[in-house]
Assembly symmetry: C2
Homo-oligomer: 148 residues x 2
């Protein structure tokens, strides 16, 4: 199934912003670090901005900054901002309505699928971009803020 790398790259972007010294970063710089194209970055930034996680500044010396403290941005916020497909896809063509199983299977599965999704989301809600940034700093043996 078509799976998106958006979540991983979005966390990457936000972590880079969190690790920096607060100066705006250009989409080109972020693209270099994430090894993708500036257009992809800008597409993600557009979603992150809509979600209130980042804000951008036009013009020379401009770029993107975090809209709030990294510790206040949960990975769940990022997940919801950039992922749009359902975690569990159901039948492409709806099952046979008149069948004993086909007519009820979706409703029967639904509570379990919901709980599974919540189980995942609860874990993503426990970790913030600040946590990831700290961990990156520890692994990379540098201190924040990092001036590029």
């Amino acid at each position: 199934m078509p799976t998106s790398t958006r979540f991983a790259v979005a966390v990457h972007i936000l972590t880079a912003l969190a690790v920096g010294d607060g100066k705006p970063m250009r989409s080109e710089d972020l693209a270099y670090s994430a090894n993708t194209s500036p257009v992809v970055i800008r597409g993600l930034l557009s979603r992150l901005s809509d979600a209130g996680l980042t804000r951008s500044q036009l013009g020379a010396g401009g770029g993107t900054m975090l809209a709030r403290a990294a510790k206040k941005i949960k990975l769940l916020d990022v997940y919801e901002a950039v992922e749009d497909t359902e975690l569990f896809s159901l039948h492409r063509t709806p099952p046979c309505e008149s069948c004993a199983v086909g007519g009820n299977i979706l409703e029967a599965m639904q509570p379990t699928l919901m709980r599974a999704r919540k189980g995942l989301e609860n874990e993503l809600a426990k970790v913030t971009i600040g946590d990831i940034a700290s961990e990156v700093a520890r692994l990379g043996r540098f201190t924040m803020p990092l001036t590029w």
Copy 2:
């Protein structure tokens, strides 16, 4: 994100087998109920059989049966049997190794992604095909086994 319809259809298949009276069901019958093609069903059955969840019988009067009691088949077993893509896809092209963030972001995210995956899997491990079959029977107002 990452899910095909395989999981939903596989649960459908197993539930249909669980609801029945134990007689083997043909891929054509299952395809009718799930509103898909017999080949898709057989492809799923091939995986389910490899995972030890079903067994098939060739020839006239043949078909597929559960290999063990429905109550002993966890949805997690089904999930693992038919899904092969990772829940979280990482960067399509690996991030910049020499960057402070790019070089460490994957390792920094990994524990969280693992916990999120476990959160989902734990929920799927709590429910069995037997539970789903009972719920389908309740919703459809019939009793098991159901003779077709």
